[in-house]
Symmetry: C2
Subunit: 340 residues, 2 copies
C-alpha cells in the first residue's frame, strides 16, 4: 500500500488539530506526519497515532519530501507558503479563501465535483465551510431537479473563526455565570446570547465576503447558472453550522423522491421525523462526518420550491474532513508518493 508524507500547516489551530485527528481516524496511509506552524509554536508536540511529533516551522524548505500538505493557516500565509510547498513538490490542499477563485486552482467537494482535481497544478482549494455542507445536501437535488435559485440564511459556529473565538465564547459564558461584565475582543460585539449578521468583511455591494463566497463557490463547484442569495450570521454555538435553505428548481419536486435521493447520497444523513421531534441540530453534528438534513417541506409559494435545514460540523466536513477526503481522492487517482 502506498503511504504518504503528509504535512499539516497550522497544526496548532482549531482546523489543523482537526486535520490531524481526521487523518488518524480515517486511517489515511501516512508514512510521515509533519506538523508545521508559526515560529512561536515550533518545538511543541502533537500526538499522532500514539507517537509524538514535533511541530516545525512552516517555511521554505519544510516541504521537501512532502507528498501532501494540508494547509489551514489563513489566506495571507497561504499566499506565500502554498506556492513554496508546491514548488518543493507537495500537493497543497488549502483551507483558506486565498486560491479558491483562481481559475488554475480546482475547488473541490469530493461528493460533488471530484473530477475537478484532474490536471491540478499543485494547489487545490478546500471550499468555505458553509458552502461545502450546502452543496453536499443540494447536489443530489440539483442532479434530479435542476436548482435555479437558493435563498440561504446561516447559523454559524464560532469555531469557524478559530481557537480564539472558541475561547471567547467560553469565557463569556463563564463571565455570565459569575455575574461579571463580558469582554469581547475577537468579535466586535458580545457573541454569547447574541446573533451577529456579520462574517468576514463587508464588501461594496453590502454583502459580506462570507456571503459572496457562498455565491461564487457554488458557481465554481456546482453550477454557474444557480442564483444564490445569502445571509451569513454568527451565533453562539461552538461547533456545527446550521443553514435554513430555500430552493427553487426547474422541474417539479416529489418530496418522497427528494428524501430518497438524499438518503442515498454520499455524505448525507436525513434526520427528519417531526412526529418524533427528529431534526438535526448543531450539537448532533459535533464531531460527525455527515451533513445532516431535516425539516424537508415543499414551499408552495413558488412553482417548484423546497425548504430544508442543513447542519454540518464546520471543522470536520466544513474544513478538515473535506481536505482529507480530497487527499483520499488524490491517492485513489494515483498520486505517487515520492521515493525517499
Amino acid at each position: 500500500m502506498k503511504k504518504y508524507c503528509v504535512a499539516v500547516v497550522g497544526a496548532m489551530g482549531a482546523v489543523g488539530r482537526e486535520m490531524l485527528k481526521t487523518l488518524e481516524q480515517r486511517g489515511f496511509p501516512v508514512s510521515e506526519i509533519r506538523p508545521l506552524d508559526i515560529e512561536a509554536n515550533a518545538g511543541k508536540k502533537v500526538l499522532y497515532e500514539g507517537r509524538e511529533a514535533t511541530v516545525g516551522v512552516a517555511a521554505k524548505g519544510a516541504f521537501v519530501d512532502v507528498d501532501i500538505a494540508l494547509f489551514s493557516a489563513g489566506a495571507d500565509a497561504s499566499l506565500v507558503l502554498a506556492p513554496i510547498a508546491a514548488a518543493e513538490g507537495a500537493v497543497v490542499v488549502d483551507n483558506s479563501s486565498q486560491w479558491r477563485m483562481d481559475p488554475e486552482v480546482p475547488l473541490v467537494v469530493p461528493e460533488v465535483n471530484p473530477d475537478a482535481l484532474d490536471g491540478h497544478k499543485g494547489i487545490i482549494a478546500n471550499p468555505n465551510c458553509s458552502t461545502i455542507q450546502m452543496l453536499v445536501a443540494l447536489k443530489p437535488i440539483h442532479d434530479a431537479y435542476k436548482i435555479k435559485r437558493i435563498v440561504v440564511a446561516t447559523y454559524q459556529a464560532v469555531s469557524g473563526t478559530g481557537a480564539a473565538a472558541i475561547a471567547e465564547l467560553a469565557a463569556q459564558a463563564e463571565q455570565f455565570a459569575k455575574g461579571e461584565p463580558m469582554t469581547a475582543k475577537v468579535y466586535p460585539r458580545q457573541i454569547l446570547f447574541n446573533a451577529l449578521p456579520h462574517i468576514d468583511v463587508f464588501l461594496d455591494n453590502g454583502y459580506t465576503k462570507e456571503e459572496m463566497k457562498m455565491v461564487n463557490e457554488t458557481h465554481k463547484i456546482l453550477d454557474p447558472a444557480i442564483s444564490v442569495s445569502p445571509t451569513a450570521v454568527r451565533i453562539p454555538v461552538f461547533r456545527g453550522h446550521s443553514e435554513a435553505i430555500n430552493i427553487e428548481t426547474e422541474r417539479p419536486m416529489d418530496l418522497a423522491d427528494v428524501r430518497r435521493l438524499l438518503a442515498a447520497a454520499p455524505g448525507v444523513k436525513v434526520v427528519d421525523d417531526p412526529a418524533k421531534l427528529a431534526y438535526p441540530t448543531a450539537l448532533d453534528a459535533d464531531g460527525k462526518d455527515e451533513v445532516f438534513v431535516g425539516r424537508l417541506r415543499l414551499d408552495p409559494t413558488v412553482p417548484n420550491g423546497l425548504n430544508m435545514w442543513v447542519v454540518g460540523d464546520n471543522l470536520r466536513k466544513g474544513a478538515a474532513l473535506n481536505a482529507v477526503q480530497i487527499a483520499e481522492v488524490l491517492a485513489r487517482k494515483g498520486l505517487e508518493p515520492k521515493a525517499r
Copy 2:
C-alpha cells in the same frame, strides 16, 4: 384626561411583567391597575408607579369595572377567560394565538393596520412576535413597492417561550461554567450553544405552527396576496428576535428610497452602516421599543429583490408594547372609561 382601569392577566409571566412595565413607562392613563394570575400566584405583590398592587385570581368576576384587559396567559386560558372578561365589560387585548385567526377578532399592529380595531367585539388579538417585527419593517416597503413574496429565517430568543425557558438557558450557562452536565426540560434539546429548528408544534404540512402563524397573520394584517415562506429557529438568546428576510416586490426598488422610507416609518430604526460595523443585534434591541433594520442590500437573483436583517425585542414590540399600543389606539379612538 380619561383614565382607565387596566387588568393584566398573567401578570407574573415574562410578558405580563413587561406589560406592567410598558404601561408605566409610556404613561398610559391608568386609574386602577389590576394584576391577575393563576391561583398559585394570588396574593403576590407587584410594584406599579411606586405602589404595591396585589395579584388577584384571573377568574369570573375579576373583570368587573375593568376597561382594558391585557392578556398574556396562553391560548388555553384565553379561550375560557377572554369571553368572560369581555362579557364583564372589558376590552380584551390578547397576546396568545387563541383568537388571532377568528374572523370576528381584529389582529392588529398599530403601525400597520390600526383601523382594523374599528367595530371590534370586545376581543382584540396581538399578533405573533416574529410577525409583528417583520410587518413593522415591511409595511413601508409594501406600500411603495408591493411585496409579492417573503422568504424568512428567524433567530428567536428563549423569552418567547416564557420565564421557564429564560431560567433554563441561564441554568445551562451556569452548568457549562461549572463543568456540570446540562439539563433540558423546557426544550427537547439543550438550547445553550445550539439552534433548534422547532418552535411550537409540527403540523401535517411539515411546517411548525410558529411558521404558519407568520404566513397566516401576514395575510390577515398586511395583505393576503403576499406569499410567505418561513423557517422558525430558536437560538440561545435571552431577548430579541432576529430575522433574515428576503423579499420580492412588484415594482423595482431603489435602495436609497427604501432606506428613506424605513427611516421615516413609525416604530422603525435603521442601523445600517457596514463601514462602521453598524448593524442591529438582539442585544442592541433588548428593552427597546423600535424594530431595528440593517444589512439592507438588493438581491440581484430576482428582478426586484431585497435582503434585510430585522431585529426587535420580542417581549416589548413583539408582545407587551404592541398590546399597550393597541390600548393607546383604543383610547385615542374614544374608548370611554366606565363610570365608577
